[in-house]
Symmetry: C2
Subunit: 456 residues, 2 copies
Amino acid sequence: MQRNVSRREVLRGLSATPIALATSFLGPQSNQPALPAPPALPALRVDSRKLRERIESLSVFGRPAGGTFADGVSRTAYSDADVEGRRYVMAEMKAAGLQPRIDPAGNIFARRDGREPALPPILFGSHIDSVPGGGNFDGDLGSLSALGALDALAAAGVRTRHPLEMVVWAHEESYAFGRGLACSRIVAGDFTPADLDEVWNGFRRADAIRKIGGNPERIAEARRDKGSHHCYLELHIEQGGSLERQAIPIGVVEGIVAIDRHQVKVTGMANHAGTTPMTERQDALLAASYLTIAVREVVASEPGRQVGTVGRIEVTPNAQNVIPGVVRLTIEVRDLSPDKLKRLADRIRQRAADIARETKTSIEFTSSNHNTPANAALEVQRAIERSARRLGLASHRMPSGAGHDAQMMAQLSPMGMIFVPSVKGISHSPLELTSWEDCARGADVLLGTVLQMDSA
Amino acid sequence: MQRNVSRREVLRGLSATPIALATSFLGPQSNQPALPAPPALPALRVDSRKLRERIESLSVFGRPAGGTFADGVSRTAYSDADVEGRRYVMAEMKAAGLQPRIDPAGNIFARRDGREPALPPILFGSHIDSVPGGGNFDGDLGSLSALGALDALAAAGVRTRHPLEMVVWAHEESYAFGRGLACSRIVAGDFTPADLDEVWNGFRRADAIRKIGGNPERIAEARRDKGSHHCYLELHIEQGGSLERQAIPIGVVEGIVAIDRHQVKVTGMANHAGTTPMTERQDALLAASYLTIAVREVVASEPGRQVGTVGRIEVTPNAQNVIPGVVRLTIEVRDLSPDKLKRLADRIRQRAADIARETKTSIEFTSSNHNTPANAALEVQRAIERSARRLGLASHRMPSGAGHDAQMMAQLSPMGMIFVPSVKGISHSPLELTSWEDCARGADVLLGTVLQMDSA
């Protein structure tokens, strides 16, 4: 799993010297003279050793019994491991001189005053809940880098103009209650009191929120207004392989893609696999197979970074000696452009109609839902690029194919996200890995971006 | 569901007069002068009204609560409904003057003496267990027609040369314990004592056999030797649509096809459906889709009546936002020719290798099993044809794509099977339907074939 870091260092024209500690002000200077000179801000660094220690310490909460860091974590939202992990992070925040508080939705916030109290705060952070069988970087890196950034400012005695606020969002992953971004969604106002009655695994959502220290009776107070923040920033692992493949240490997120999701039912005729001639069959799985390939072909037929997936399929009766009668499957297509999504969906439906006719089945799109993309603000993208450049790090604009709490915060203020490479693009897996060096670089760029946005 | 019988009568050049009762000796004469004249045997008929009454009476055991005959039956082997259905059939056998006995395997036998006690018996019958959600003709028709044939002989005072033996096989369907033809298999000697320890649904097989009146301690005594019977005959619904489509009332089974079954594992790489570019994917479901289509194409590429099916598929992790990492699926191919099966399997494996390479997955055939076809004896096929001709019924030779107890009995003696049309080819479904007229014709042909074979 070990990346050949020195080869990549050479590619980037960087020295392979150890990352400087947080107290050092001497970052490498930008070597991209075509762009305007960066403003004169201190090149603060996050303590990379402390960051690593905290990620490793947090990893024990939800670790498989008898496992190591490499065995990943199952710290699903509202689990005992989640409660313990949150307790650990809050203890670290207190040790760093902060006063963490849990909002009624269960999110953890901590504020550091600025020089101009009337200004809205710069909000930044991530989450620490995981999928079952997840890794130790998704969410954890952004949450603990936010704390590391506040540490660095305190250590350097730097007081920003804007108040700063770090956040550890609760229930980001779409596992518990079947829906993700759940508690940032409450802050953005996408919530009704009836949602508190939702039951999952015999667990009422109000009780789940109470378990992590939230207050369902006052849930409405968790909501924040548009303009409550100067901006929202989040550092996250890429969860794809493009930064690693291109040997670029920093991704500047242009936006979080929109997702079209379709539930599809293919209806044929279940019949005896031994006695029904091939020409008489109405095989729902055969039709579903043509459709799966059609999704791939339609999505790949246009240039761009759109993706399309058939991830879930259920066959009835699913017996080796019975021709499949009904297949239910999901199609999802993601892209930053709603127009492109609409065009691709239309073409997939057209292909489905052709396939149904040819296979003597019916193919029905039983439900579809579409969300809108969340664009990152251009000024925040530029601040991230400046921050990377000050550290001598190459960067690259890219969409986020995955959802993040940042997309909820984009409804309240300008938003930006920083991506760091994921080894082999693996995420939501114990094999998820970002090198400690890339973690440190991401944390430094986050800190630099906070300072860039503070002066904007 | 009602077939247009009169149209078919016209096609066959038959009058639409009601079926004669069992006591009538006056069947229509053959109108196919090109064939040799049938031997002078009485053209006995089975009582078709009684046959229908018995099929309807048996249908209540395992009928869905509140349902009617049209709602089918769930009389799975060893269920309470199976025990009750067997009790009903044995009571009818006793009322007909027979002495039913249950062999140690659980099969029900009853014997009618012949004029020459040294001759081996002619064995005929079927089963009465069903799949869950099955119909009222599969098995029941053959079992109750066997009883009807014995009734007709008794009513006519006809004593055959050979002893006659009817049988109701236990546990024919492959549901309980995951394997079908279970109790005829014991009679054919394909059984080991260890099989009695098999557990299914918390139910030990020895106890299952005991529940239906068998005797697991003496199971070895259920075995019969090669040559124990003069021949074995079975009437069954076609379970396919070819007789109905061609408007032919009687199918003469040439043999029961061999089945090649393959368990296949497709391994790709599970990954995030939003962040993994299309070109980087190793999508196991995409590969499985190509393979499903390849099975269809390879099987349909040769002339003949072979069939091939992908009936079962399981995807891991099977989440709409995760690229499928592993797919397990089953392939089965059926034909009378083992050579053809081998050729088709080779071509499917070749296509799988190509697909694996193109999709960056691996496709592994983790297990395969092959059985041999069970050929019907030519002299029995000819006896069925003569019997049909004497009744003025067109017949047609065809393979059986489904398995039947007859394939086990083919190991002990010459075997033959009579098929009657299944409306729309539907079976293993409450929609399974054979017209009462076709049921009566099949029963008459069975009786005629017993007499033909008796004189052979």
